[in-house]
């Protein structure tokens, strides 16, 4: 399968590796790619088309060049902390997603996988189990509003133009080497602290759901290759142990010395 991934960051590179290892042909569309990082994660020199997802013409050109059977749309400003301007945040996350959908329509792409987020869920009861149909809302946050808007836009495109669409709501993502935003930043900091010989407190990190980049890449690849007969929302998270302790101390040695 020929796959175009928007965004060559943490999730994009790990997903590219997963797909390439399966024999799929993978290319990136990215504004400011880091070739060394892509090579380090994927083990390959994958083609990157440089461009801005806010530029519809550039996306159409890329889609025409690659002729992807599936587009995985990951490029975004991640997390509320990284969006200091409401207009710019909506441009990057929402307008760009409309561009991706329109470019898919114009070039005949049939399958689209989109990165959404667990942050949409409003439930706060720790005893509750949140599923795809649990209540969601933007709660006046730009990041959440943009991701919720993306889901509505893409569902509409899928219905009107018969796109096969997977809306994947990710848990907090962490992994080698660079987390763009969200709760995964805290895990990244913990790993770096451990590497520096500091003790790591996990109380924060066990209060929300996370997913390791390798697992997430596997889930995205599965969504890409499975034939979806109708639009699907799917949660991708690791399994958090029920009743896991809310405060743990792990020494740097326990991370560095174990496999």
């Amino acid at each position: 399968m020929r796959v175009l991934i928007t965004g060559a960051g943490l999730i994009g590179t790990h997903t590219a590796k997963e797909l390439a290892d399966r024999g799929d042909e993978v290319m990136f569309f990215d504004f400011a790619p880091r070739p060394d990082y892509i090579r380090r994660v994927t083990g390959r020199d994958l083609t990157v088309i440089r461009g801005d997802i806010r530029d519809l013409a550039a996306l159409v050109d890329a889609f025409q060049q690659v002729r992807p059977e599936c587009v995985i749309h990951l490029a975004a400003s991640v997390g509320e902390a990284n969006i200091d301007n409401v207009y710019a945040g909506f441009q990057v996350n929402l307008v760009a997603t409309i561009n991706v959908a329109e470019a898919a329509r114009l070039t005949g792409v049939r399958r689209l996988v989109h990165a959404s987020t667990q942050a949409l869920y409003v439930g706060e009861d720790p005893n509750e189990l949140l599923g795809e149909d649990s209540p969601i809302d933007c709660r006046e946050r730009v990041y959440n509003a943009s991701k919720l808007g993306c889901e509505h836009v893409l569902r509409t495109y899928a219905a009107k133009h018969k796109l096969e669409l997977a809306l994947l709501r990710f848990a907090g993502v962490f992994g080698y080497y660079s987390v763009a935003g969200g709760p995964g930043v805290a895990v990244q900091q913990a790993v770096w602290d451990a590497m520096a010989g500091k003790a790591v407190t996990l109380n924060v990190y066990e209060s929300v759901d996370f997913i390791y980049a390798k697992d997430l890449a596997n889930g995205i690849a599965l969504a890409c290759i499975h034939r979806l007969w109708r639009t699907k929302s799917l949660i991708l998270a690791a399994v958090r142990s029920p009743g896991s302790k809310t405060s743990k101390q792990r020494s740097a040695k326990s991370f560095r010395g174990s496999k």
């Binding site: 996370f210 969504a223 699907k232 991708l236 496999k259």
Partner: protein, 38 residues
């Protein structure tokens, strides 16, 4: 201490995609460290 949030149910992904995550938090952190040490 950060209050715990509800857990996410991945039953649909397990059923429809055969998604089967291998790494819990600590295992993922260990693998991350191993990658940094390479």
């Amino acid at each position: 201490m950060t209050p715990a949030r509800p857990r996410m149910d991945i039953t649909r992904a397990r059923t429809e995609l055969r998604f089967n995550p291998e790494y819990k938090l600590e295992a993922g952190m260990r693998d991350y460290v191993a990658q940094l040490q390479r």
